[in-house]
């Protein structure tokens, strides 16, 4: 059985801080984004405790600050949304790069045993 580790006691991790740069978080994101957010969050938590919360939040929509339904015709809101998306993309890429290099380093340790 695959167990999903829980984030460390105390809740927030430094990776949460990455996302805090971008988001006034708004509860209630749902639908397909919420489902994908949960799935990706679970996978992320397997690798680094707390990371899943960040990824899940970003994909699930809480990271977008709930701005999507209230865009209306306001250009500034589009620009704010674009900026938030760019920051979330950057946070995502940073975390993803670290996870890849972490994996490569582990494989390197295995190779060194040979």
């Amino acid at each position: 059985m695959i167990k999903t580790p829980s984030p460390p006691a105390g809740g927030a991790t430094p990776l949460d801080d990455v996302m805090k740069l971008t988001n006034p978080s708004v509860p209630g994101a749902g639908g397909i984004r919420g489902v994908f957010g949960s799935i990706l969050g679970g996978i992320g938590n397997l690798v680094v405790p707390g990371l899943g919360t960040v990824i899940g939040g970003a994909v699930g929509g809480t990271g977008l600050g709930g701005a999507m339904p209230t865009l209306g015709g306001e250009t500034t809101q589009y620009l704010m949304l674009q900026r938030q998306i760019q920051q979330e993309t950057l946070a995502f890429e940073t975390a993803s790069t670290v996870m890849k290099v972490r994996h490569d380093a582990a494989l390197h340790a295995v190779e060194n045993m040979k």
């Binding site: 695959i2 167990k3 999903t4 580790p5 829980s6 984030p7 460390p8 006691a9 991790t13 430094p14 801080d17 990455v18 805090k20 740069l21 397997l46 690798v47 680094v48 405790p49 707390g50 940073t94 975390a95 790069t97 670290v98 290099v101 972490r102 490569d104 380093a105 582990a106 494989l107 390197h108 340790a109 295995v110 190779e111 060194n112 045993m113 040979k114």
Partner: protein, 136 residues
């Protein structure tokens, strides 16, 4: 009972990889079983101690991870792998200064290798984060 097992290097590598696969699939008990076997074969190997530490880390047991990493450094004071993961741990403990010191040490010990690269990436990540004391 005395051990009379002489595994090949390939078998040792296979066991370490199995431990990593168990760890990454969240099967921590199995990961520890495999790594305990490996530790019986190689009692003073720093890589085994580091991987043990990463299992604790992924379970959120930061103190346990710290002990394993320190043991790895006891076995090999020049282990860039141990310093890189120690830096990662300190980032998660919100001690940015200590994290930076460990990561810089890893880069110094393995400037062109993968452990140095891991440390550089973690250093980038740590520097991109808000200092905790200012955020609170």
């Amino acid at each position: 009972m005395a051990w009379n097992v002489t595994p090949s290097r390939d078998e040792i590598a296979f066991l370490l990889e199995a431990g990593l696969v168990y760890r990454d699939s969240g099967r921590f008990t199995e990961a520890r079983d495999v790594l305990n076997g490996l530790r019986a074969l190689l009692p003073r190997n720093d890589s085994v101690a580091v991987v043990f530490g990463t299992v604790s880390f992924q379970q959120g047991d930061f103190d346990g991870a710290f002990r394993h990493y320190m043991r790895a450094l006891e076995f090999n004071p020049r282990s860039a792998y141990a310093y890189a993961h120690l830096g990662e741990l300190e980032i998660f403990r919100n001690d940015r200064a200590r994290a930076a010191a460990h990561l810089k040490q890893a880069i110094k010990l393995d400037p062109r290798g993968l452990y140095g690269t891991l440390a550089r990436r973690l250093l980038d990540l740590g520097q991109g984060l808000q200092p905790k004391e200012k955020a609170e």
